[in-house]
Amino acid sequence: MNVETADMNTELMVDGNAIAGELEQIFGHDMTMAVARCAGCAADSMMATLMAFVRGPGAVLRCPSCTSVIARIVETPTATYLDARGMLYLRMTHAS
């Protein structure tokens, strides 16, 4: 399987829906429909549709088009880290 690398097992993969709660905790509202532009291939994906690996230490989100890492979320007892250097931007449509 070409999308499999050492830290990726497609069968154990979920998607951005699985971390909707974490994202809402960080941003204060639902983020599943926010659109991330991948820094690797410039594809736009809703957060819900990102590949998600949630059973490691922290969560890893990958681009469904090119599989590069878009973001990582790590919880420690005292803080939440969001590493989002894999995205060019995140677009959040204003609530209508």
Partner: protein, 245 residues
Amino acid sequence: MAALEWQLGTVTTIQPETPKTKSFYVALPKWAGHRPGQHIDLRLTAPDGYQTQRSYSIASPPELSGQLELTVDLIQDGEVSPYLHDVVMQGDQLELRGPVGGYFVWDVTVGGPLLLVGGGSGVVPLMAMLRHRAAQHSTIPARLLYSCRTPDDVIYRDELNQLAGSVAGLEVLITFTRQAPAGWTGYQRRIDAAMLNEVITPFGTSARTYVCGPTLLVESVANLLVGMGLPADRVHTERFGPTGS
């Protein structure tokens, strides 16, 4: 804006659905309501402080207030589902937060035609949509294609039969992937292009589709639907992981 808070609910009823699936009704005094398709995060805390968390879809429609129905498939070597199945009893408390997720949501204001495709416990959020549709007396054309291994594995079987027989514009199609009931004339194979094509034909590419279940099933169905010409933004997906595969 209200922060997403962990809250305690009380298990009021536990109902077996299949030999390996149970529904848990959880009464939540602070629940603010939900939309069909949303889920909750459930958190377990061991006496030594170790915590673990899983997501579970809400099976009940928004029209049922004051409590939620969660339907959980038993994964033998799992961590959380065996605890829910074998340890949790009526009257126990569960810690959860939600509702979460805005993407995998359908209600009657979204419109149709509606094609729901589920595998195993992936039928759970789809059931919330169908229950909501029925409670609203909606006639939006809807079809559920539901992949099960054997007749014993059909979650909500009686209710699905009853809905399909009584509610206008709804068709329920089950495919059995391992063993079909005696005399079964419906589908008996994994969901493939030919099956999806037949199921979607009355709706065409205007269908709003929601695909949920084990990751490999969702991947394959979503790819097939997009390959059939459905715009990607009409194909909503939710992957449950290796569950039930």
